[in-house]
Symmetry: C2
Subunit: 449 residues, 2 copies
């Protein structure tokens, strides 16, 4: 090992913080992880998490440090969507080709396991210790009981901010001049709900499916846990006709579930109880730049790029940050200024791309799924992709089942969309959608690109 | 007066804070203005300000409280641009029609005068008192020596945040969920420079002109002061070939001015000295929403919408906020919740529009002014506007010499741009730009809109 061992602080003991701790321990550094919250292994989960969908990028990052197999033990592969449309039997949509799947993992279960693994690797965790201030040029951190109490000072060689969308580390960087920053909330909130296991511990719904109850402006999803339960997420506008604002009593909640989700009727008591027990959370897209301060401080994961959850890529993108950082550490050894600079320049366009794709998925789900023209377009694309799998890889597959850059997936997706706009403007496309003419048109347009 | 007198705190004693104090005193409220800085009347100016260009919106806001005439005494009307292009004599471009002008005012001179006027009106100013925290729902503010010192607590009925682009009040609002926020810096910085008066106190350049030395990626501007001097602003990229980063010695600064601004040769000694005395400042576009917290706290001016200075509308937009607030106070009396809500809903699209227009002006100045196609387009527009002044009011006039909403100016400007795109794609437009065909084309396209 050519690198000099460094004394490194990681702020945040979430998924990204604990995986980064494991990576950096493997490189021989001394690691201390700070978290303002108590040890997640000692407390109940928060009741505000959405189950994770680990896909190829996440697995690759775990594989590099030999963790893929042990994490797969707490994950369940989902190879298809199960669509629950009212008055129709459930129907299934395969995600990709044979063997392609996303993996459902409980955030709490995974985080506990990752902290165990990081501790085994030798990282030191300091829970219940809140970082109030960071001296960026000197890589010092200050912790304490409260903003106005006596603070404790720590000196490090490097600091990583893995403290999520509302990062304190970033907050400090943000006060500098020429720091670009944006946070943008969507008008839909979410709430965690649970479907409990059958009495014999089995799952009440197909366990290898991502369950979706699409209802236009709102939807319910469910992802399986290894204990037989499902973690459900209700996405619902904050305000408006059918909204969180308008469901304030148990009776209203019950009516809501009965009206819109009759096929989960047996669960309604639980769902209604959860509805008032669990908080309603907001969703934000957060972008910023730069991600690093000299050779001292860098942001990784949500602290650098928080996205809405509609592509299931938040954790995967954070894990990919770490994978790329590791490649750069191998290449540039002790030159942290170069490592951090290449890291931010390489990752930023990809973070922006997955932010954009995730936001578009939200728009698509909330406003386009009822549009017959849009559905026809998807049908034509699907037909063509099936016939020419090498010529038309859907964006979803490029994001989920590939390790190519997100920015590339976005660019190719835009190109495909342009082609489809031309196809959709062909005369009588509704009647001829599955004709040879349409197929030839796509082939010709693809040649032009 | 139907309104109940309120005890109101204004944070920030800048132009917007002091004008708002005058407006609110007229309505019978008790006003205390807090500023973390010392009284600007007792100190030298900062050496980092760009002269103000008061235009119609600003004057209207002053007129409403009877201040137009007294402020005009410290302002100089500019009815044209004076373009200083190398190897060409200076040439002039009229801003508008006969009698239309923007007015040059020194920020420091104006601010001192406004604070005098606000004090005369009965507002109390507390300088050197920094607000560290705000209890938003209870309209309390906390001031003190430092973040960790003992704080003093004040209770108000209402709080206005007029504390500029890096507002502490907004900072507090920003921590709430569902608060949208963005700050985006441009890669060009600016520096204040001065051209001193002649020995007899007269101006060295035409005093009724806005002087511009356009140089592609950078430019110098000069605006007159009533003492015979000019406040100049050098806009220059932070990094790159010709940039702040690359001018680090007196010799380099001198060479820079000699090479690029030979017609200010006699001023070079002063300019060079200023160059190292004055700081280099960054420019930011800041957007946020909401602007108000219940019926307790509202942001006004730069704290709600900071823009780059290339349209000369920053202060005008802030003053217009106050004008509109006043209209709403007349209409809704004591219902501050409604006043604040209507205020933010009405002003937000206009603030976004002037932000966009200002940013576009920056892009235009830095990248398009050397593009022959762009210059031809401007020539065609100018010719048409002169012939049909009622059919084609340029966006600049709509922004500067009108009181119609900024959002309308932007929308009409976009429509005009669309028309011009079609015109510019006409065959052999370079040869036929002043033909009847082109004129008829524009007339036809205008009818379609």
């Amino acid at each position: 090992m050519v690198q000099t061992s460094k004394n490194i602080a990681i702020i945040g003991s979430g998924l990204v913080g604990s995986l980064l701790a494991i990576y950096l321990k493997r490189k021989g550094h001394d690691i201390t992880v700070f978290d303002r919250r108590p040890d997640i292994r000692t407390i109940e989960f928060s009741g505000r998490s959405i189950n994770l969908a680990m896909s190829n990028r996440g697995w690759r990052s775990l594989r590099k440090v030999g963790l893929e197999e042990s994490i797969k033990e707490i994950a369940i592969p989902l190879d298809k969507r199960a669509m629950h449309v009212n008055d129709k039997p459930v129907y299934f949509q395969k995600y990709g080709k044979e063997g392609e799947a996303i993996w459902s993992i409980s955030r709490g279960v995974l985080n506990r396991k990752m902290i165990d693994l990081a501790e085994e690797a030798g990282a030191i965790f300091r829970f219940n210790e809140k970082v109030w201030d960071i001296d960026l040029p000197n890589a010092k951190i200050f912790t304490g009981e409260s903003e106005k109490s006596e603070w404790k000072e720590y000196q490090y060689d490097l600091i990583f901010g893995c403290d999520g969308a509302f990062s304190r580390v970033r907050h400090k960087m943000q006060r500098r001049s020429r720091f670009d920053y944006s946070q943008s909330f969507i008008d839909v909130g979410y709430k965690e709900l649970t479907i409990s296991p059958n009495e014999d511990g089995t799952h009440k719904l197909d366990k290898n499916s991502f369950h979706i109850w699409p209802r236009g402006k709102f939807m319910l999803i469910a992802m399986p846990n290894i204990d037989g339960s499902f973690t459900c997420t209700l996405f619902l506008p904050f305000e408006g006709d059918v909204s969180f604002e308008n469901i304030t009593t148990k009776e209203e909640a019950k009516t809501f579930f009965e009206d819109y989700f009759p096929n989960v009727r047996k669960e309604i008591e639980n769902l209604t109880e959860d509805f008032f027990k669990n908080p309603t959370s907001a969703m934000v897209t957060m972008k910023c730049y730069p991600w690093a301060y000299w050779n001292k401080v860098a942001l990784v994961g949500d602290s650098a790029h928080a996205i809405v959850p509609f592509y299931g890529q938040g954790m995967n993108a954070g894990f990919e940050d770490i994978y790329e950082l590791d490649e750069l550490m191998d290449m540039y050894k002790d030159d942290w200024e170069v490592i951090f600079d290449k890291y931010q320049k390489e990752r930023k366009p990809n973070a922006d791309a997955i932010a954009e794709l995730s936001y578009r998925n939200f728009v698509e789900m909330s406003s386009k799924t009822a549009d017959p023209k849009f559905l026809l377009q998807k049908k034509i694309e699907k037909r063509f992709a099936k016939k020419y799998p090498d010529k038309w890889i859907p964006v979803y597959s490029r994001v989920t089942f590939s390790e190519r850059p997100y920015a590339e997936a976005l660019a190719i997706g835009d190109m495909q969309e342009k082609i489809m706009q031309e196809v959709m403007s062909m005369p009588e496309i509704e009647a001829n959608w599955d004709s040879q003419t349409v197929e030839n048109k796509i082939l010709t347009l693809l040649e032009g690109h």
